[in-house]
């Protein structure tokens, strides 16, 4: 059952990334290109998502537990440490270079583009390497 709901969530997520064109790197780079012809689309995607997810999470997390599992699994750390900032910076550089972050890159596999496949393969390789250095 957990798999069925995760599949549903994935489908909605992938459809949402497609209809908002976030799977198109040109759109993402257009957003990051603040000195060029700025494309606000990504801000509308994130802003729209936050406007609903914020209140929705507040309501959901008031419950003692989720419907299908024993407990909510949430990150508990609140400190800002070096790996967090260094990781986010490396991710930002890669994001700016390719115009793909993990969600859109995976969704874009549906296009069958070999370049996207290459990106995803490198991404998994990068995750593997980082996993060797962090517990």
């Amino acid at each position: 059952m957990l798999c069925v709901t995760a599949l549903m969530a994935g489908v909605l997520f992938g459809f949402g990334l497609s209809i908002s064109e976030m799977i198109n790197p040109a759109r993402v780079i257009g957003f990051l290109d603040v000195a060029g012809r700025w494309d606000p689309t990504l801000a509308f995607v994130m802003g729209g998502a936050l406007a609903i997810t914020g209140p929705a999470f507040a309501l959901i997390l008031r419950r003692p537990r989720p419907w299908l599992a024993d407990k909510f699994i949430l990150p508990t750390r609140r400190d800002i440490d070096r790996p967090l900032i260094l990781g986010a910076a490396l991710f930002g550089i890669g994001w700016g270079l390719g115009g793909f972050c993990p969600g859109p890159a995976l969704a874009a596999l549906a296009s069958g583009s070999p370049a996207v496949f290459l990106f995803v393969l490198a991404m998994v390789g990068g995750q593997w390497l980082a996993g060797r250095f962090t517990p």
């Binding site: 969530a9 209809i19 606000p40 406007a51 989720p66 967090l84 994001w95 296009s111 390789g125």
Partner: protein, 140 residues
């Protein structure tokens, strides 16, 4: 360069929040794609792996459904294969080291008002913009 797609952006954002809310309300999990992808390969148990595999299949499937309905996906690559290889590697390393990406930190983390997610989101936005600035507006 096409016109901004603001309506598509808002609809997409709404769908993403429904997806994140489903995963939280029913499964009690954060919809962070980099973490979910990592768990596909390095999960500690089969149960932990299966739902993540299902989510990733759904992610690709959702884009495939859209592609079928809209008659294709528009993907304009921003870089050569070599740059994409480097970019993918940096995105993979960075999201694992930094415990999240645009969905986990940028949407779910900010929605929970996590200070770590706010710091991470500000950092990857800044470095993303700086990188694009150097690539587009600085001549070597």
């Amino acid at each position: 360069m096409s016109e901004p797609n603001l309506l598509g952006g808002l609809i997409g954002g709404a769908l993403i929040s429904v997806a994140a809310s489903i995963l939280m309300l029913l499964n009690g999990r954060i919809a962070g794609v980099s973490g979910i992808l990592g768990g596909v390969f390095w999960a500690i148990s089969g149960v932990e792996r299966f739902w993540r595999v299902a989510f990733v299949i759904g992610l690709v499937g959702g884009a495939a459904i859209y592609s079928f309905a809209a008659g294709g996906l528009k993907i304009e690559l921003a870089a050569s294969n070599l740059i994409l290889l480097m970019a993918g590697f940096l995105v993979g390393m960075g999201t694992r080291l930094g415990s999240g990406c645009t969905s986990g930190h940028g949407v779910c983390g900010l929605a929970r008002r996590s200070p770590r997610s706010l710091a991470a989101t500000a950092t990857f936005m800044l470095f993303g913009a700086l990188t694009v600035f150097v690539m587009r507006h600085v001549s070597f």
